[in-house]
């Protein structure tokens, strides 16, 4: 039902998420933002069970900000990803596990861009491209075929558009719009929402 995708380039990460907030068969919101800003250069994309997403993501968000306040510098994306995974793992075998699937995208001064894939069983993998949701079944092979490690920003956006076109064509559900953002050394940039409606 929900869809997340991330593509990492040599000096940027491109991420997109759909904008639908649904409750059983009803779309309750068409402009819902599933990206949570952890710091100036880290975004957490979160989908999954209704309340768990916001609760968990806000918890991680506040803790990352608390770290910055206490220590004077920000957590790196790798550290933030491992912190998130550790929390998921801690709650996994408790009575109230968090049923969330995450993508963490960030830019580090030393390590460069990073995209981290995490799922509800608290697996963590750093990947050049990743997707969550039913849509992932349809789009991962497109990413496999056309991705190259040194792709430019325009090529990455084209690749993203190819994936969304495939979703529009073959996915049974209607996902009308996607929020797209790009993270590079200058921070987080909002990009035009895709797909663009008829003018």
């Amino acid at each position: 039902m929900e869809y997340l995708i991330g593509i990492q380039g040599p000096d940027f990460v491109l991420i997109a998420a759909d904008n639908v907030a649904a409750s059983s068969i009803i779309q309750m919101k068409h402009d819902y933002d599933k990206m949570f800003k952890l710091s100036e250069k880290i975004l957490l994309l979160c989908v999954g069970e209704a309340g768990d997403t916001v609760q968990f993501a806000e918890y991680i968000q506040k803790n990352v900000q608390l770290y910055k306040m206490r220590n004077g510098y920000e957590l790196s994306p790798a550290a933030a990803a491992n912190f998130t995974r550790k929390n998921l793992a801690d709650y996994l075998r408790s009575r109230t596990p968090y049923h969330v699937n995450l993508l963490l995208a960030g830019y580090d001064e030393a390590d460069g861009p990073g995209l981290y894939y995490m799922d509800h069983l608290s697996a963590l993998a750093k990947a050049p491209f990743a997707a969550h949701g039913y849509g992932a079944f349809l789009t991962l092979s497109i990413l496999d075929r056309y991705y190259k490690p040194d792709l430019t920003r325009e090529e990455a956006v084209d690749l993203l558009k190819k994936c969304l076109a495939e979703l529009n064509k073959r996915f049974i559900l209607n996902l009308p719009s996607f929020t797209v953002r790009l993270i590079d050394k200058d921070g987080i940039h909002d990009m035009e929402k895709l797909p663009v409606g008829p003018k």
């Binding site: 649904a22 409750s23 819902y32 609760q55 799922d119």
Partner: protein, 403 residues
């Protein structure tokens, strides 16, 4: 032994309180110091309290929540007649794929939803409630039928409950849970207002309710509320608002009494006043203050928007609202659309019906429209339809004669 308690011992609390979790020391607090421990479900199995030293006890952010002790135990141990419990809808669906949302429509055949305690009757959540914002404020409307699978338990239950002077909440789900949590929310908002000398915003109230309900996730608590309110200006207009505060609340009380007699004249009289104040308010800081509609669900969903409908009749209501609601509509139009939406939903949905309640929230507070029985509307509709059919027949006959 204690058949006759002397008054002094009761006042001095010599005997241990009957329900120890209700007394002051057993507080659940949500302070920033607790950030490393998420406030989820009593995982460590004890109720704890943190008190800031030198603050005289409670700090403003602490509030009390009734956490039953059984939440710290595994549900398997608590009151189950057999270890093999009926599987839930939720568990089955999660098994398919992790990102599939849980379905919350009422089951087609009544069966117990995995009770940890055997239920005396099957639960079913049927209702139609809606709330939307427009230029003239917020409209909150709901039907009044409380159903219990096949039985109409109460044909006249209020599903839109006022929380404070500028906030009403529509309720859907289990009636008892909704009534209780609305009261708890009202209490916490009033305490906040007394401590901070300003009303908590609708977004803040929604977040508070959402966090209060979070520990109960996974239990059978079911509350789906739409908070419809008006966020007012702070300090600058604080005096006028608090001056009118006493007046407005008493006005509401008296006018809702007289509302039963004549709604149309009351609506006409207060119409120009409302539009004047909204104009004033809109001119100054329209981003901070204004109408707000926020949907809060006990499974944790919290959505801010402009139009929401909740309940088993919500799809029918959505289809009416989506085509007719726009920001610039007048109050009469908005009232008519809300009424129509609830009426259509009660027409099609078996679990909604009887009357429709309608509340209108503006900068001056909420105003309640007289409860209307939809039976008459149904008969009027039938009458209109019959007339239309008769007219069409007459026209056809005319054409025949002309030709």
């Amino acid at each position: 032994m204690f058949h006759c308690l002397p008054r002094s011992s009761v006042c001095e609390n010599d005997s241990p309180p009957l329900f120890s979790q209700w007394s002051a020391p057993f507080l659940r607090s949500f302070m920033p110091e607790d950030s490393t421990h998420l406030s989820g479900g009593g995982i460590h199995g004890e109720a704890f309290s943190t008190r800031l030293p030198g603050r005289g006890g409670l700090s403003p952010l602490e509030f009390y929540m009734p956490i039953a002790e059984y939440l710290t135990e595994s549900p398997i141990n608590f009151g189950q007649t057999s270890l093999r419990s009926a599987p839930t809808n939720l568990l089955n669906i999660d098994h398919l794929h992790p990102s599939l949302p849980s379905i919350s429509l009422p089951p087609p055949t009544p069966f117990p939803i995995s009770p940890s305690v055997p239920l005396p009757f099957t639960l079913s959540h049927g209702t139609t409630t809606l709330g939307f914002a427009f230029q003239g404020g917020v409209i909150a409307a709901a039907d009044t039928r409380s159903s219990c699978s096949g039985l109409v338990a109460c044909p006249a239950s209020p599903k839109v409950l006022p929380i404070h002077s500028h906030l009403v909440g529509t309720t859907s789900g289990t009636s008892a849970d909704c009534a209780l949590w609305k009261r708890i929310l009202a209490r916490e908002l009033r305490l906040y207002q007394l401590r901070h000398r300003r009303r908590l915003s609708t977004g803040g109230a929604a977040k508070l309710l959402s966090h209060m309900l979070h520990p109960f996730k996974g239990t059978e608590l079911c509350v789906a509320a739409t908070l419809c309110g008006w966020d007012g200006d702070d300090e600058k207009d604080e005096e006028p608002i608090t001056d009118k505060y006493g007046n407005i609340s008493t006005n509401q009380v008296t006018s809702s009494g007289s509302n039963n007699q004549s709604t149309s004249t009351a609506a006409a009289a207060s119409q120009p006043l409302i539009s004047f104040t909204t104009q004033q308010v809109v001119e100054s800081r329209s981003r901070i203050c204004g109408p707000r509609v926020i949907y809060v669900c006990s499974d944790g969903l919290r959505l801010k928007g402009e139009l929401f409908s909740v309940g088993s009749g919500s799809p029918y209501a959505y289809s009416i609202l989506d085509s007719s609601v726009y920001w610039g509509m007048s109050v009469q139009e908005a009232t008519a659309v809300a009424r129509e939406a609830v009426f259509r939903a009660t027409y099609r949905d078996a679990y909604s019906g009887n009357n429709v309640d309608l509340y209108h929230v503006t900068a001056k507070g909420w105003r309640r429209r007289e409860r209307e029985n939809l039976k008459e509307e149904y008969y009027r509709e039938k009458e209109r339809e019959r007339k239309r059919v008769a007219e069409r027949k007459a026209e056809k006959n005319k054409e025949k004669f002309n030709v």
